[in-house]
């Protein structure tokens, strides 16, 4: 594990993302068009539906954003990375990059939802905390599943069937917490759920970090 390697690999991720403009713009357009679609289909809905739709949009946008993370790396490039660095560095840089990407995506979705449907959240700071923690757990799970799906054929479908059961516990906690944030409850009333969510984040990242070296070697 070397800081220098991780930094270089992280920058490589960011540069490829920015160079291949379709990737980042695709995610943005995805969020925008889904929000527009919801707007066209149902004009008015209550805050509970707001929360549910919000997390669904974030979920699908996240899957799409992370799916390419390992699938885009061809065999040749993985072999090259294998030679110049170690598995730990690669998974750490990917996790770091995907976490940052998903936090951005969920923040943008929040912005989109507030613009189109109005901001229904009362406890905003609390909600932002959940947003970050939720995006982190998605990033961990989806990065690992993307690495798994990249090894199999038919990665696209596989990515969703493999990852959705895994994110269900996280999503249940996140939705429950977001509802509390929306109603403006204090964090201290739900610290049990919050600690569980943080624990899930830690579990996902640690398991990712431990398992990736096995998965990676061909």
């Amino acid at each position: 594990m070397e800081y220098r390697h991780i930094k270089a690999l992280f920058l490589k991720e960011a540069k490829t993302e920015l160079r291949e403009k379709y990737a980042l713009n695709g995610i943005l357009l995805y969020v925008f068009s889904t929000v527009l679609l919801i707007q066209l289909l149902i004009q008015k809905f209550n805050p509970l539906v707001w929360i549910t739709l919000f997390w669904l949009v974030v979920l699908f946008a996240s899957v799409n954003a992370v799916a390419k993370s390992f699938i885009q790396e061809g065999r040749a490039r993985m072999l090259y990375l294998y030679q110049i660095s170690s598995a730990e560095n690669i998974i750490l840089s990917k996790l770091l990059y995907n976490s940052l990407l998903l936090v951005t995506v969920s923040l943008l979705t929040y912005l989109g939802f507030s613009l189109f449907f109005g901001d229904v959240i009362i406890g905003r700071l609390y909600f932002l905390l959940i947003l970050v923690l939720g995006s982190l757990s998605f990033a961990g799970s989806f990065t690992m599943v993307s690495a798994i799906a990249a090894k199999a054929s038919g990665s696209g479908t596989l990515m969703s069937i493999l990852s959705f059961p895994i994110v269900v516990p996280q999503l249940m906690l996140i939705c429950k917490l977001s509802r509390r944030a929306m109603e403006g409850f204090s964090i201290s009333l739900n610290y049990r759920e919050l600690i569980s969510l943080i624990a899930i984040d830690v579990i996902v990242f640690v398991v990712c970090f431990m398992l990736f070296p096995y998965l990676w070697r061909d």
Partner: protein
């Protein structure tokens, strides 16, 4: 089949026969709502216990595969999951039938335990689909072992932490009459504990037969090739 090695198979078969006979004929306490359906405790609950244990053994085999690279471990991990899913489907059917007559519906979406069990089943079915999409033997073993462990790590909060945070319609939860230590009388214990052993034993027996069949199939394929 030597008795010394296979005594647990005889034991589980005898216990299972006992479970069916005693389970339907022994007296049970009359609890409100549950009434005679309480007998489902001898079938539905032990099946889930067996399923959970089989999944844990499979997880252990997956870890063993990653440590040793022995393909037999991978084969065992998969067949334990298959056997676990068999018990899981049986548990789902008995539970669904029971729910129809106590809650009035085959499936109740408000109950977290039901949804969680559906998620667990989906996860292991996804595992089987993942396996079928990889051709190379070693690659398949490696990838599916990793998914097995990763999935198990994410299931632990789902099965053991989240249900304790919310109420369930299940007996013993949220003030429903149930099977906790005070409600379960000594007659029921006389059937319930053997039933648990019987179903777990049966699950492992099924798994063992599946493993041996798979091994023979592989041998046969090697001979033809």
């Amino acid at each position: 089949m030597t008795f010394k090695k296979d005594w647990w198979k005889y034991a589980s078969a005898i216990l299972l026969i006992y479970t069916v006979i005693a389970g339907f004929l022994m007296p049970v306490p009359r609890l409100p709502i549950l009434n005679e359906t309480i007998r489902n405790l001898y079938f539905h609950v032990p099946m889930w216990f067996g399923m959970m244990l089989l999944f844990f053994v499979s997880l252990n085999q997956a870890v063993q595969y990653l440590r040793t690279g022995n393909l037999n471990c991978d084969l065992r991990a998969t067949e334990y999951i298959n056997a676990g899913l068999t018990l899981g489907i049986a548990g789902l059917l008995t539970g669904s039938l029971w729910a129809r007559y106590t809650w009035g519906a085959w499936w109740v979406f408000e109950d977290p335990k039901l949804n969680n069990s559906a998620v667990v089943m989906a996860e292991y079915f996804a595992f089987l689909i993942l396996r079928s999409s990889i051709q190379d033997e070693k690659q398949r073993a490696k990838v599916s072992s990793v998914y097995n462990i990763f999935a198990a790590a994410s299931i632990i909060p789902l099965l053991f932490i989240l249900p304790r945070m919310s109420d369930s319609l299940h007996p013993g939860n949220g003030g429903n009459p149930g099977f906790n230590t005070y409600d379960l009388d000594s007659h029921m214990r006389m059937v319930f504990y053997p039933a648990v052993l019987a179903w777990i034993g049966m699950g492992f027996w099924i798994a063992q037969i599946m493993i041996r069949t798979k091994k023979l199939e592989i041998k046969l394929d090697d001979q033809i090739a």
